[in-house]
Amino acid sequence: MTKPKLALYWAASCGGCEIAVLEIKEKILDVANVFDIVFWPCVMDFKYEDVEKLADKEIDLCLFNGAIRTSEHEHFAKLLRDKSKVLVAYGACACEGGIPGLANEFDRKSIFQRVYIETPSTYNPDKKFPQENYDMPEGKVHIPAFYDTVRSLKQTVLVEYFIPGCPPLEKTTWKALEAVIKGELPPVGSFLGAGDKTVCEECPRKKEEKKIKGFYRSHLKIPEPEKCLLEQGIICAGPATRSGCEGTCIKANLPCWGCYGPAQGVSDVGAKFMSALASVIDSDDEKEVAKILEGIVDPIGTFYRFALASSLLRRKKMSQEKKE
């Protein structure tokens, strides 16, 4: 019997997802036994042309990490979609756009301006910017186009499953791979390896009554070790975030940052997070409420930290780019 074919790929990512796959340690050998790995640029020596040569849907499972930032990323998202029976968004960037998606508050022009002109260490007297095509004395060279906005994988192509996390923890990755190996896959569109609750619901800290008179930024209050961080006024993404990490950052005595993405059934994580915070504010006085909310100095970054690209915000800008 031929083994099912597995492919792994990265786009706009940090490489942490590649390390995360290897965090399953010796179990990676089980994966190599079960699957015929046909593409994993990071670890194995297959090339794009090998992928191009495969028949449509010849890859049984493709784990794709990273967001779509450049024309090259988009090209490989589409190519791997065509070649794969099951395409899985692996990690926060592929699932929701991740941290690189915060760039959607800005655009190509302002990013280039900052990086190549404005930064104090840069010396660029001729105001040169990277160009897709450039004539060297010896001939032409080419680099991919940098898009105006970042997209998640599901905003680019059809995706069957999602494995959340920045990066997915060892147990998440292994649970997801186990489900695939045992053929126990849930309905298309499901998240694999994580929970269907919120981080808050799995958090070991004691919860009493959430009523607060002010928000503290995480560096401005040393939390009591056993008590719910939000009850202490420390902004924690636990109520809006998918469970599965068992409160990794909370155990390090710092708040949840939201890397497992929107909780089950939540389409816009920021809206959910905002409503959770609003419900714990202990005031009916409009002015006092406004004062309390001043404690949240960066609403977009706070509420949409890992999921701005896939959120409901800035859809107009994205659709404009699509038309161009």
Partner: protein, 487 residues
């Protein structure tokens, strides 16, 4: 003019590309290394609370997240003019030391090592970590996996997880070590020292006792005379966590020694329109293009550069190895790019020794790991030595501590010019008119930059394997005449 495109290459974040132009005789006319990606952290970190930059910026690189986490924490502490508790400083350094052992292990056994352990022209299917395990035995393979795992355990102890730990905050560390955790760290540190010694022995047995390899390491094809940069302590010994930035010239003489807050007086970044990555150079020498020598501001960072820029190692076993390396290679500075592999192992041993010292520090279990910053935030600069080189974070904030401007000089970026030069020199040295460009040649070109352990866009590459490559050769009419492929 013919163009050879090595595209795609991997083990860079996203993708890298090499374009080599050949003249009509088939000689190399020029070679360019292109970095086709940018994410723009310098822009989208604007408007964020500064205490979150140590959460956001590690996402620059999931291979060296601990380095970004700590450079960011140090910059944010400086923004608040905040002196952190002494135990917090030690915990950060302890975490960093364990991380260094793991990361240098990965590079030696999975990335750089296979070229030597299995051989530069071994069958490509074996030129990876699996080939290494096959050659050195399963027992040693297991040792490598275990070493990585136990060091990851230390980072997770303090930061919840290994990739993107959540450990430091403005004013210190989120949590400390219990006595039980300290004991576990001490065991791991002792094992790490043994592993460091063992790795140096492996290097000696496999590389130094083989004349072919020694000739390769010391060959002109892999040599550049440049400036070198690294952090040093007050005795000019290598330090990964703090100290002054020291620069030595190609003769090994001190050229500059400065506090990182003055980095703008020393480092400038050049922009070229054909790549997304900038080229840092020494301001007080100047940009002369992609050339080496005393007149060119190109400098190098990372293991060999750190050793070249120092007067030694701060721990006894690493110091012995430092002396042995320079004695063997003809004195300091060493300009052989491939000697980075040796320097990396000297550093691994230092990291392990320093790790053990910290686990025995009576203060290390002090539970008061944080202070609340009280001064008005404004501007701060932080530096650490990431495994791949000097890493600088520079933040300016408003009076609420919300970031207005961010500037980053990322470890591998410092080496960008040197890596480009090394690739070019390898292409010139290895591709000869009238000779076929074989798979072996491709791997030898790869070795030129693999020694730097590059991390473009500061990311991925800490894994086994090699780059898939395809070279397309066009004639002067742009007609495709040949495709050379490495499977």
């Amino acid at each position: 003019m013919k163009k050879i495109s090595i595209d795609p290459i991997t083990r860079l974040e996203g993708h890298g590309k090499i374009d080599i132009f050949l003249n009509d005789k088939g000689e190399v006319a020029n070679a360019y290394f292109l970095v086709p990606e940018l994410r723009g952290f310098e822009k989208f970190c604007e408007g964020r609370p500064v205490e979150e930059l140590m959460v956001l910026t590690p996402r620059i690189c999931g291979v060296c997240p601990t380095s970004h986490h700590l450079a960011s924490a140090k910059a944010a502490d400086a923004v608040y003019h905040c002196e952190i508790p002494s135990v917090a400083k030690k915990l950060r350094e302890l975490m960093n030391s364990a991380y260094y052992v793991a990361d240098h292990t990965t590079h030696f056994y999975a990335l750089g090592g296979p070229d030597f352990v299995v051989g530069p022209d071994a069958p490509k299917a074996e030129r990876n970590i699996l080939g290494v395990i096959k050659k050195v035995g399963l027992e040693i393979g297991g040792k490598v996996i275990r070493q990585r795992a136990i060091c990851h355990e230390v980072v997770s102890m303090l930061g919840g997880k290994y990739v993107h730990p959540s450990a430091a905050t403005v004013g210190g560390m989120g949590k400390g070590l219990s006595e039980e955790e300290r004991k576990r760290c001490e065991e791991i540190a002792k094992e790490s020292i043994e592993f460091g010694k063992f790795s140096l022995k492996v290097f000696g047995d496999i590389v130094l006792s083989n004349k072919v390899y020694v000739d390769l390491v010391t060959s002109d094809t892999y040599t550049h005379k440049t400036y070198y940069m690294g952090l040093v302590d007050d005795k000019n010994k290598v330090n990964f966590y703090e100290g002054k930035v020291r620069v030595v010239d190609p003769d090994g003489k001190e050229f500059a020694k400065f506090d990182v807050k003055d980095y703008l007086n020393h480092i400038v970044e050049w922009v070229e329109p054909w790549t997304y990555l900038k080229f840092p150079y020494l301001k007080n020498v100047g940009w002369k293009g992609l050339v080496d020598g005393k007149e060119s501001g190109v400098y190098r960072v990372a293991p060999l550069a750190r050793l070249n820029a120092s007067d030694g190692m701060a721990t006894p076993l690493a110091q012995e190895e430092y002396e042995r390396m320079y004695k063997t290679l003809g004195g300091r500075p060493v300009h052989f790019t491939l000697a980075n592999h040796w320097a990396r192992l000297v550093e691994l041993l230092y990291a392990a020794e320093r790790f053990l010292e910290l686990t025995k520090d009576p203060e290390i279990t002090d539970p008061n790991t944080r202070v609340i910053p009280t001064a008005k935030p404004d501007e701060g600069i932080g530096v650490v030595e990431a495994p791949r080189g000097t890493l600088i974070h520079h933040y300016q904030t408003d009076e609420r501590g919300v970031t207005k401007k961010v500037n980053l000089i990322v470890a591998t970026t410092n080496n960008h010019a040197a890596i480009s030069m090394s690739i070019k020199k390898a292409a010139f040295g290895l591709i000869k008119a009238g000779q076929a460009v074989s798979d072996g040649i491709l791997n030898m070109i790869e070795m030129a930059f693999r020694a730097y352990d590059p991390c473009f866009g500061c990311a991925t590459h800490s894994l086994p394997g090699e780059m898939p490559m395809e070279i397309k050769i066009y004639d002067h009419n742009k007609k495709l005449v040949n495709i050379i492929r490495r499977d």
